[in-house]
Symmetry: D2
Subunit: 415 residues, 4 copies
């Protein structure tokens, strides 16, 4: 047992940290303002990316701080899930950083899908430009009319018709759909509703300029459109893609989703932990500098106890997430399902709690863009729903625990 990061992680972390402190953190406030100036409109087709972002991406790429997430030595950094996790945490302290290092959701998950499951033409056409950061991508899964936490509810259909797949349905909360560079979506839908539960769904690659793709609106999350990314609601009206656009083949959707979600949740959770660390720094900074009743806030009421509890909660969430990453690397995402559900339950709640307490110290300033707090709250609050609400993960943990205990008792009785 050894809690020290690998030499590779340490090296990347040091360079990432230096880059962020030199190039990203000093720019972040200005980015918020530029972004707001360019994009404070729900008319998402007018959204633009502040030009400095492309420059930062170029710089990061030149320094080899690029595609950390991809477990391939040539195309990415060749890190295990566990080795990548601390980098995700570091990037998660900034809402801008993941984009700069081409480690942003949902692109990372989509690239992983294409890397692990895409065939050569699919990789050439879509993986390569995504890895280069030239285009962005979308993952269309959640639907408004059914409880998407139960994937068997999914209603969007993908039907074979001649040499095409024909897609019909409605998706929403498709993150990144409003981005000017978004070109490709991976769409999950029903190909065979009579198949067993794990072989009903498929994933197809859908270029966003295909006729019948009707993006109806971007959805504000707690009032924020998250421009220039956006979360879209889109209708597929007899949308046709050629048969070769299916990933792996009909019925493989569930299997691909499982492979995608495991590491994806590690990424989300580690970024959430990074965000929580940033919020805790704000808690401390405000606590030691703001004066009320003749004392810094930190000395009033229970603020030191709060600080202690938040510190411990973050540390526990990190260790749990690193352990889950290790499990994924060692036994695979399918066998680490309890550990993955556990971190998906814990990390966003910890972030929400740290942000909530930090907001109390900032008072009025916490509610508006003068602080990053509303943005961090939105991240936390969304993440408690996205990829399965807390309740679904609690159910998974309990179910697995009961099964494991039953198995253990059977094992003993056979001794």
């Amino acid at each position: 047992m050894d809690f020290s990061y690998s030499a590779k992680t340490k090296d990347y972390l040091a360079r990432l940290d230096a880059f962020m402190r030199e190039h990203i953190e000093p720019y972040e406030n200005q980015y918020q303002k530029e972004n707001y100036r360019l994009n404070s409109t729900p008319h998402w087709r007018e959204w633009q990316v502040p030009p400095r972002v492309a420059e930062l991406k170029q710089l990061a790429k030149e320094q080899g701080l690029w595609n950390f997430f991809l477990p391939d030595n040539e195309l990415g950094a060749g890190l295990t899930t566990l080795e990548y996790a601390p980098l995700a945490e570091r990037m998660g302290r900034s809402l801008l950083a993941p984009e700069v290092f081409n480690c942003n959701a949902p692109d990372t998950g989509n690239m992983e899908v294409l890397y692990h499951f895409g065939d050569d033409p699919q990789q050439e056409q879509w993986l390569t430009p995504l890895l280069n950061g030239d285009i962005r991508s979308v993952f269309c899964m959640t639907e408004p009319d059914v409880a998407s936490s139960d994937a068997t509810n999914m209603q969007t259909t993908i039907k074979a018709d001649g040499s095409d797949w024909v897609i019909n349905g409605r998706k929403w909360w498709s993150t990144g759909l409003g981005h000017p560079d978004a070109e490709i979506a991976i769409v999950m839908g029903l190909t065979d509703e009579d198949a067993d539960k794990h072989h009903r769904h498929s994933m197809v690659l859908l270029p966003l300029n295909t006729p019948g793709v009707n993006i109806e609106r971007m959805l504000p999350a707690l009032g924020e459109y998250d421009a220039p990314y956006g979360h879209g609601e889109v209708v597929f009206d007899n949308v046709r893609v050629p048969k070769e656009n299916i990933i792996v083949g009909p019925g493989a959707g569930f299997k691909i989703a499982q492979g995608r979600l495991g590491p994806g949740r590690i990424h989300h959770c580690m970024r959430a932990i990074g965000a929580a660390e940033r919020a805790l720094e704000l808690f401390i900074e405000r606590g030691v500098s703001r004066i009320a009743f003749g004392e810094p806030l930190m000395k009033l009421g229970g603020n030191t106890e709060r600080l202690a509890d938040l510190r411990v909660a973050i540390d526990q969430a990190r260790l749990l997430t690193l352990h889950a990453a290790w499990q994924i690397d060692n036994v695979g995402a399918m066998k680490a399902i309890k550990e993955i559900s556990a971190i998906k339950l814990v990390a966003p709640n910890v972030l929400q709690r740290v942000v909530d307490e930090t907001m109390q110290l900032f008072g009025g300033a916490s509610m508006c863009h003068d602080t990053p707090l509303p943005g961090l709250l939105t991240v936390a609050r969304s993440l408690r729903i996205a990829d399965g609400p807390d309740a679904v993960h609690r159910a998974t943990i309990a179910k697995t625990e009961l099964k494991q205990r039953e198995k253990q008792l059977k094992g003993r009785s056979n001794d």
Copy 2:
């Protein structure tokens, strides 16, 4: 001891309920859409009130459902704080209703100040049009640069100069400042920083069209501008008002604020409880209608236990608030300070909790305007900061409790 509402309350409540069910609730969704269409811009000078609102106000006034909050039989409904509280709760179930019945913050508090402390000319000029619902008003207290929870920090100055008061300073989170009908502000500031803590501040009446009143921006709260009301940041740059614009006189600010805050907190908290009841209805509706894993959500996991805990939390918050209202009516706001702080601590937290749990049942829909949940979350979250953050109220409760206990022990030792 009797927990039944007074006959007057029951009568008003029945009529209010009927009006809301007939006129307001069926319109509420459409109001949100119209409001969004008219006002989805940070350029607040362009904001408009949807025309139907004025019609509803007229109708309410004609039916005598008007100015419930004012404890005057002629000008208002002549209800005690306790008698008014259930009406505030009922109105709080709608974000629109308080405006329709002329019971909206901060107008109610401002009208109370003018009613209790204004002289005849002040009442004639400002109280009358406010009671008529012809204009709206603003209360300027919180400042960005100091911890406003500690009023002694306040930096805005109100200095005598000839026949004028000259106001200099910066205020923010001045609710309603963006409203097209906002005409008058009550501004709190320092008139004599050498006076004792409770006689340093004064309140003056400031017409918003006075030169030197520079409204810099409206502040979004969790991404929402709350148009057409808005929360403004405003700079007073050598703003002059005549000497007669002071309320009561120099140094009376603290005393007036105390009188204003007691009933005002009852109003806020009862509205919060109404909002919580509405959220709980949404919790139930979604819980019994949404299906996942073959069952209504209500039957899954711990949702029935959640329902029970939320129901009990709301009921306890209501009783605590009604009891505090009774205390205000019987011993005055100054002697009910512990009870008032207690409800200010409890009610917004209960609302936040109910909304948070309800959001989990709504999934993606909870994050955007398709449900009232983001609006309710913003109400809850703001209210945990406005009028003193939780920590300040906890400090007040503890301080008072310790004093009371000490006094009680002294009383015993003198037996």
Copy 3:
């Protein structure tokens, strides 16, 4: 709406308070020691009551501070449930007081059963000596082998045989069974397992010296036998009582239990609130007097915030309980089922929480008899199980809430 206590309550409360301060509180520590000296043995048949207790009972009876709980002007104080509640709270501050004023469980509930449902001979034989405080009684309901929270599980049988009822079964946690003066038990059992759920059970009066009543042991609760009362485990082995010992008649058990439990839970909860007030006083006393790191504990960490939260939690629990009492008085226990379950859920949890936090301030002293804290913890912990564990009450609240909401919606649709 009026939160002031009735004149009758105020008068009794003043006299009760004076008696407790003069006679009980100064003796309480000595009582603990005497009791421990006489009864520190699991051999319960040797248990004795410290003689001073009988003297105090006599004194209380002479002063008319006796049988407060009974809503009969001749036999008791003639108070409503609501009027009695504050007296139960006051007595609950002492573990000895309820006995002194003949208001101790389970005697109060048993006396109420006999008062409301007993026939004349039953009342003469058992109610009269109980009201006089000459004997004590036991209520045998909970069984070890089944989940007694679901009364339909009950396995003890009461079968007709000639002119007798024959009782067979095992009961445990029968409070007071070890007391030297315990003479009579009310036993609940199955008389007709084919009847509908609410008419299967009956209650019979069982003199404890009847052959076949085998008391196996007293059960320690968190290590305490609660001598000289005790919680007993008892086997009924073909125990015979004459037919006239049934209360009301066969199948009336459920109905009687409902009538017994409503006010009984008010009593339990108000005593718990009194106990919580006592624990909070200890919290304050320790907090202001114990010094660590150069400061009284109250000034360290989050202790003032804790004090505030505990104060508010107690006040909310009290109001909820008083409101439930009012409901019982006004609509009856059956229609107040949600309110009664709510207080049974809230009050013991509040007590447990206050005791838990107070223990932290007392350190080592909190774990042993040098403080009343272990006793108070045992009261709280037991009460979260007795009369239905928290989960059962949450289920009742949710079920009732869902029904009420459904009814309300139906009512609206019929408008």
Copy 4:
């Protein structure tokens, strides 16, 4: 980074597990009963150890399952703190096991003190028989009259007088003081109150049969005497020990205590985690087997969600503790102070929470010796006080966090 246990740990763990399943767990219930039969009296001088315990100790010693805790390859198992931790967890599932493997508190801590700091004669006289399990020992630190969480409060004096140290004072909660084999105590006291805070105290070895050692009583913890160990209150009345009985020398008490407490807290916390795992097993067993309302308890209300939350809480506590152990091994206990305080805060609270929820499923049976739950509750509740109450650890965490942040910011400003 690697979360797998070392080969040595795995090997010991397998053998320990087998031994416990074969020899200890089948005997545990009977041990409780024998122990109760022999020792259900507060007259502690009559306490005896059930004879089977000595046999089990002998067997364990023969199998080399002995003194795991000692980081010495000859005298103990030669494990690091991190390597020993999983064994402590495994033993913690039983209240008897730590004694059987000679890994019981406070002996382990005392042996470590003697191993690291004792001179040759001290080791020969006391360490050897302790390592052999022939005698038991006591650690006298906590005092009743002062807040012992602040060590500077300590009032027991150790004064030089000729060739002796003379000890005067009162200690309590000295664990193991009632054990028939207890022969030696390590006593901490003031040798020089004018020295700086960290050099005022010393530790001396005090044979318990020395004149002037007056053991006044054993203290029940939540009603349990924890026989045959006991927690004693003892007065030192001019007790004399020769000068060579001091450990290291005058003023070394604080330094020794620090070295003792770090690993000791790991042991306590890992045992607490083992106890929590055992309670969780009981939660599951009861949940799936006990029927109410026609369903196993596990399917009712929120019990699956509870199971999930408890599982996650335990896993997080374990990882945090293992990480703290790793820190101790790598940077030493002094530099790992934040991590050590964090686990001392987290682990006992997790245990208390798991036990509390499990008690709810067991109902009445949870309150008495028919289940191990009261014993586990007492362990949890005591541990939140012993070795510093939660509040002290929160203060340490906050203080260290603030210092580290300040240092970090200084570091950055010097870049």
